[in-house]
Symmetry: C2
Subunit: 628 residues, 2 copies
Amino acid sequence: MVKLPGYAGKILYIDISKKKHKVVDVKESFARKYLGGIGFATRILYDLLKEKVDAFDARNPIIISPGLLTGFGVPTFSKVVFASKSPLTGGFSRSVAGGRIGPALKYAGYDTVVIQGRCRKPIYIFIDDDRVEFRKAEDLWGLSTRETEERLKEEIGDKTVATAVIGPAGENLSLISCIDCEERQAGRTGLGAIMGAKKIKAIAVRGSKDLIPYDPDKLLEMLPKIYKECVTHPAYEWDVNWGTAEFIDWMNRERGTFPVKNFQEGFFKDAYAKLKEGEKMPLDPYYWVPKYSVRNRACPSCVKPCGKVFKSRDLIVEGPEYETLYSLGGACGVDDIETVAKAHLLCDLYGLDGISAGVTIGWAMECYEKGLLTKEDTDGIELKFGNGEAMLKAIEAIAYRKGKLGKLLADGVRKAARKLGKGSSRFAIHVKGLELPAYDVRGIKGMALAVAVSTRGACHLTACIYGTELVGKWWKFENIDRLSAENKGYEVKVHEDLMALYDALGLCKFSRHIFFAEKLPEIVNAITGFNVDTAYLMTVGERIYNIQRAFNIKQGFTRKDDTLPYRIMHDPIPEGPSKGSYVKPSELRKMLDEYYMARGWSKEGVPTKVKLVTLDLEDIAEEIGAGI
Amino acid sequence: MVKLPGYAGKILYIDISKKKHKVVDVKESFARKYLGGIGFATRILYDLLKEKVDAFDARNPIIISPGLLTGFGVPTFSKVVFASKSPLTGGFSRSVAGGRIGPALKYAGYDTVVIQGRCRKPIYIFIDDDRVEFRKAEDLWGLSTRETEERLKEEIGDKTVATAVIGPAGENLSLISCIDCEERQAGRTGLGAIMGAKKIKAIAVRGSKDLIPYDPDKLLEMLPKIYKECVTHPAYEWDVNWGTAEFIDWMNRERGTFPVKNFQEGFFKDAYAKLKEGEKMPLDPYYWVPKYSVRNRACPSCVKPCGKVFKSRDLIVEGPEYETLYSLGGACGVDDIETVAKAHLLCDLYGLDGISAGVTIGWAMECYEKGLLTKEDTDGIELKFGNGEAMLKAIEAIAYRKGKLGKLLADGVRKAARKLGKGSSRFAIHVKGLELPAYDVRGIKGMALAVAVSTRGACHLTACIYGTELVGKWWKFENIDRLSAENKGYEVKVHEDLMALYDALGLCKFSRHIFFAEKLPEIVNAITGFNVDTAYLMTVGERIYNIQRAFNIKQGFTRKDDTLPYRIMHDPIPEGPSKGSYVKPSELRKMLDEYYMARGWSKEGVPTKVKLVTLDLEDIAEEIGAGI
């Protein structure tokens, strides 16, 4: 077979039960239809799991799929998708990481790796170009992510191997555990537990092959221009100087949509109340970057490194980020930046999703303050909002399922609230089991719709619509009213399609102010020679997203799952710029109707046969398509 | 330039003011983006008329554009699009004809012909391969369409030339005049008057060149299969045995949505009341075909000829069709088939749109019966429903703008009702000025939405949704409730996109039960080598439709123009299977909201910038795109 330009050319299937692997050529028709990254991962996952299976079933794969452009040195294109059936949501799981493992896989000769099966004893997988080794990992079991990474590199004798590892949380099958790729995480939906259940402690990758673009001259001509666009864009300064949390003060004081104390407040009232004239709020990077940040850290070929390396005494960590400043800060009422950084580090080392961990603990704090949990339930921890030490102890308890508290919280807030009962589900902040990210969607109604319908549960990255809604314009969108529930269906749909495309290409979503959609065909065509246009690429995004929805339908999801936390729909934001705003159930219903119509889905939220056929998904139309 | 496979390769621009022409190569990027037919016509018209101009302005072109596949001998692909700004609606005009002129233009070497300018004295244009002649036509002026065609062939001395001509109605600038292509009409939206205003009596075309497909072997392999599919489909028998009106009895008695007496009734009560046991209703082809039909007539390369040649004494005509059995039959309360055939023939000879003429006369009959028109206004004609002779006289009056009646009716029902006043607009059955086709949309609510939003006004062919709604399923659609106004937006959108694609390819809409969408990529790829899929082709349809909408917006149309006749929204169908049904204004509002959402348009019905950019129409996004 002639190798396709732009592709490593092969998909690697690994069966760890049998310790075997096989390599399948990437067909041009498949490549054109799904591009790569999440496109490949989504279609492969759909085809592998035709029936409803338990997420810990040996057949449930973990799929690792670098974006189409990952590895070509195009600025900010280096992402890798991890996909599986999520043990946390029970639905489609996509978790995207930066870091080095995506490019490494491409250089090893693979566009996608699919791992199925299960081992009885811990192993790690070493993918060394054409060679695939299954190595014992009993001595790594129990180690933190950082230690594991170091030990792997020692054992292989090569510091340049790229690694994806789990920590104790994944080993202990915490449903909010993550996969760590050298301090870039595939954080959400509990994928650490998928590796843990398979007894895969780590994956190490070394690649030494070349990737050949279709039109190298064109690509070389484009790279400096893309570089220049990246470094001259206003977002460059924000990312590089302040990291991902540049806008945290604005979120609090201008928008009032920074969730605090488990969404009881829309801005960090206590933290601001303490400040003297001219002082910065301690979670604000304008406060802590000058004091603690020692350097930046970037993904490969990124020219605008957003990772802020935080150093304080013996603590050194890439973080905190905007999301953990919320989940391990505001959501728990903690405004001490060193504690937040420590908590971020602990989550990284244990291999925990920092968002889910913080939101789950925030919920527990509210339970504690309301008397639904007592010191007996918390193993003696004074689990009040603002108690940073208590938060750190709770993180450890979760990672190791330690004590009553650990057992209660280790599987995220939905399960915890179901176990505890006592009306605590009314303030369990999740959708489809996934805890909400750092946006009080009561005051961002388009985003409320986005988190309600996202195929992986409450997620800021599936649609990446928060900026559009909060600023009121983006790309070609204008005049958007975040406090209105009108006219959101098509807006959310387009964002989702575009972000699916980003995940197919490996493009970082922090670059969405630079690349939009119109700039992508030129890059894709230079790499692949496919001669496609914007409409074609957007359609690929739509195709991918519809398959994810179809997957969820086959796993039992219905319109009822497209919902919002009780609090979002019943308790208005009490104070601040978004005071009084919440999403009425009737508003959600209307937004869902609009969204399904914009998507060409039935009133029940099932893709119509016509939609699927016109996305060239005839087989899926037959399997799940609705009549209208 | 290398000639594109599948294309004649050139666009012919004619300026009749200067009697000059030029030829422009078809670029591959343009061909890929718009395919041909309505795609070429739509984009060219949009680019030529950037501002609001009068339809009779010399700049307003008449564009003649055969479908991409027209001329290749693929069964039922031979249609040709006529496009312009409509003098009747003031908006985008598309009128599609069968017959020989489409293939002839391709064989002459042109994918599209664009005619601008205006003459002072009548001419005809003779396109003879590379040669373009402007010939005097003063002696043809005033002749009927049939005489004109015969005289042209004599003068050129070649019976094989293909012709498109106008009759007296077009010469007299009747806004409901048509273009006649050897008894296949570009019937709707008054395009005869565009030719009349330019003083073009006719266009004659002779082509002798070859069309080269990309993959001749593949095409040859496919043709017998397509042939077989056509002749073994159940619709084959209907079309060939009974013509387009096969279902007229079902429309009356099973659905009650056959409009009678200017939409005062939903089935032909009087005609059925007269029948004895076992008799057929006289407009039903099961009655008249055995008695009057002498042979069938087909478009080139059609294998299922639907044209029924009607002969009675000195009368011979291709027709009547389903539509004229309504407009010149039911709508005027006339059930004498010989009279209807005569009326059909008169419309053809005078070059009148048979639908619009009949509906306009039906309105006048209602006015007469209500006393809003008297014998003085009708030049002595007893203009009552069911008076066939009166109808025939009225047709002549319209074509020649003869007497008070002719002057009142010659520009269609909207203008007539505005002139007359007296509340007669309440039963003027049109949308955007175009008279409704043969479907009582009060009992077909998805179709009501379709006629409300169609870019050319009330039209059954823009979405071609009537079958889907009336049967309740089609293609991949199922469980459609024609009496409900729920869930129609996406359904209409998809039908419109697909039909725009049909008009781009030159595919007859009577074949929509055979080709659907999924079968088209293989044919398009064999002809062009474009390597496209269903999603791509549907996107081209959507692109074309959005440009038409953009065109209308630039001509001043708003959401307010997406409406329905007063009677459709206020007077329920009085009797029959659809008794009581009508489209409430609130239902129309809801359907419009849904439709715009499904289309990615604003609440005002303006395509969003995002929608346009993701259709690769950045320039149009800048010009008319909405923020959301």
